[in-house]
Amino acid sequence: MKTLEYDVLVVGGGIAGGEAALNLANIGYKVLIVEKELSIGGKMILLSKVFPTLDCAACITTPKVSEIQRHPNITVFTGAEPRKITKKGEHDFEAVVFQKPRYVDVAACTGCQLCEEACPVSVTDEYQFGLIGRKAAFIPFSIASPRAAAIDIDNCILCGACERACPPDCIDFTQTEEEFLVKIKSVVVATGFQLFDPLKIPRYGYGQYKNVITSMQMERELAPTRPFNTILRPGDGKMPDNIAYVLCTGSRDKSVGNPICSQVCCMYSIKQAQLLMGALPMADITIYYLHIRAFGKGFNEFYAQAQEMGVEFIKGKVGKISEKENGNLILRYEDIEAGVVKEAEHDMVVLSVGILPNRGIDEVFDNEKLKLDPFHFVDQSDILASPAKTSIDGVFVAGTATGPMDIPDSILSGGSASAETTSYLRRRN
């Protein structure tokens, strides 16, 4: 097993982990980022615009990820995961890191996409959240970092067409899984979040009714690197003109095991509603909500702006969605203010799905316990005075690994984790 040495291991290369890594690298620490996906940038790099400023998400993320990739003090492993982290003493950790084969020499790949063109296979594109296909030899998405091809070996027919098309001969099917022993002095956990899977609420018809989509799918439809030529219904390609949002899908809902608020769904739905009114000027947008939580800087003004633009807000709990023959959807909901059950027809429904923890990081710690909170996010042992601290001295936490939060808060949290890591590293025993 190859042995490597760094000052800090950052688990997760999203915006929080990236921010922590950059701060630490800028003051001279050697950092290893271990990212499980094929690109760093986390969820943010896949978004269209961000609230409440409507700045382009890619315009903020791409310079950041490229700074991370180019930083002399940062090494990035993509397609990699720590499988064991052992604390041997203060400022003395050992991690076993596995890296899956990408079957592409990333340093040699120019991102020319000739392999993509040559590949005959078409499978579902997970980076477009299932709305469209992708090849088995593929660049994950156009602003991926590293912008290098990868081979989806589970769907590859090993025809060799990609290899024959590759000008620098950078495709290599002889690559195998690699294992590294990494010696570090400190760890930052920035494992992020996963989105609620609406298949767990069958009465909303997701999966069955093709014009019921998730907010992340709508986010992709709104992004410049969108799957379709414009905003369309995945069920039949119709341009929608009456779109409904169902807030709190999988949040504040004990029946699906997630009683907490996901903090971002109100605002991202309001953002999408504003963007949709720009993209589809004739469309009606209705947001079914329980409470609008517009608590951050500029959020309430952003909410008011959506109301002024004509977005309709209905305080109502959606009980059931059913489909008409033409693909339109009937929402049966409780109008909370009127106290009656009503029905409304829409031609597309967006489920504003909530935020759940990414599980499993606690099991990676070998001899000390990384405590989780009751909702399986990483527990902050001193949340008010030292929010990046965990139950293990020398292991810090950043971003949504601690619980749902928005982008500015994730970046702040990444900053806080880097400051506390620095303080730990400079503390003499």
Binding site: V121, I132, R134, L158, E163, D172, F228, G235, G237, G327
Partner: protein, 98 residues
């Protein structure tokens, strides 16, 4: 094992046979692609028109057609008179080799 650069797929093929469902999936995609492109050769069509002609669910036609749009075989044409459905057509400088 001596490995020749640019011809490494065969080494993995020996170790890791391609599952049957993967080749079946490829066959299905290739067939659907041909059907869609043949239908579009006759003229520009919308997703519901293609679905009716191919006797396939509209959502499947949408998925495959949008994939072909991404892969550069197809391009977007005009929208219909009701401003509902776009017509799609074979890409004029396209890669339609079928």
């Amino acid at each position: 094992m001596e490995v020749e650069k640019g011809k490494t797929a065969k080494y993995l093929k020996e170790k890791r046979p391609v599952p049957k469902e993967v080749t079946e999936h490829l066959k299905y995609f290739t067939k659907t692609k041909k059907q869609l492109l043949d239908a579009l050769k006759e003229g520009d069509k919308t997703v519901p028109q293609l679905a009716e002609e191919l006797k396939k669910p509209k959502e499947e036609v949408m998925f495959q057609l949008m994939s072909l749009l991404k892969y550069g075989y197809v391009e977007t044409g005009e929208i219909d008179d009701n401003d509902e459905y776009f017509y799609y057509k074979i890409k004029s400088n396209g890669k339609n080799k079928s």
